[in-house]
């Protein structure tokens, strides 16, 4: 089972990350998602298929429409969303540590 690798590959693509960001706040139909991109509709469908296959997105049939929403149970996604935020603070704190190691009091 190489689900983990698939998830990693899925989020490595900028369009797929953008799709995840879109549906993070609300579930959307394939058409509504595709409307946000200049990419051809079949290309967006392919991205949706990949995201669904590696369980980052869930499909839900509502009447005649299929809605896509984020698979919240997949904690790895949450971790990946958080990673840039964590890195931002990690970089700041690394700098702080480095600066203070050579700190000389003013007095």
């Amino acid at each position: 089972m190489n689900l983990r690798r698939d998830v990693f590959q899925a989020i490595a693509d900028p369009t797929r990350r953008a799709i995840l960001l879109l549906v993070a706040s609300q579930s959307m139909t394939a058409g509504a998602i595709a409307a946000n991109f200049d990419t051809a509709r079949p290309t967006v469908s392919k991205h949706l298929q990949i995201l669904t296959e590696c369980e980052l997105l869930k499909q839900e049939q509502i009447g005649r429409e299929v809605h896509y929403h984020l698979n919240a149970a997949n904690m790895k996604v949450v971790a990946d969303f958080l990673e840039p935020f964590r890195q931002l603070w990690d970089n700041r704190f690394n700098k702080l540590e480095q600066i203070m190691k050579s700190y000389k009091p003013k007095n």
Binding site: W89, K95, Y103
Partner: protein
Amino acid sequence: MEKKTKINAEDGKQEIVITREFDLPVALLFTAYVEPEIVEQWMGTKVLKLENKRHGSYQFQTTDPKGNKHNFNGTVHEFEPDHKITRTFEMENTTFPVQLEYLTFAPLTMHTSQLTMHIVYKSVADRDNMLKLPFAQGLNMAHNRLQEIVSKLNKR
């Protein structure tokens, strides 16, 4: 390798906890939050005002690569040297509501210390939007780079 900076963001809560251990005595760690020129270096911001006292306030200003200025400010509620700072944080001219920050500084050994940053947001959605911000910015940067490359190709 274990990550030095940890973020604890539980699902459905309007708060997060950031923890970090430093190879610094607690007094030095605290100094990094107090001296304006030091804050400027590690936060990557200009410090317009920094009053380290109860009822004091602070104002930071950053300039993005495009030259746009972004202002941040807050009010200090508690200030106990080498121990804690409680303050608000606001990003001016944005839709993000004010957030409340509880900073706790603790010695681990003579030469090491730990910072705990407990941030409370107005709502769960506000917290999630704030957490997604660096992710979204990274995405925009990647997008802009792509557009630059494409426009260069088109000029040929």
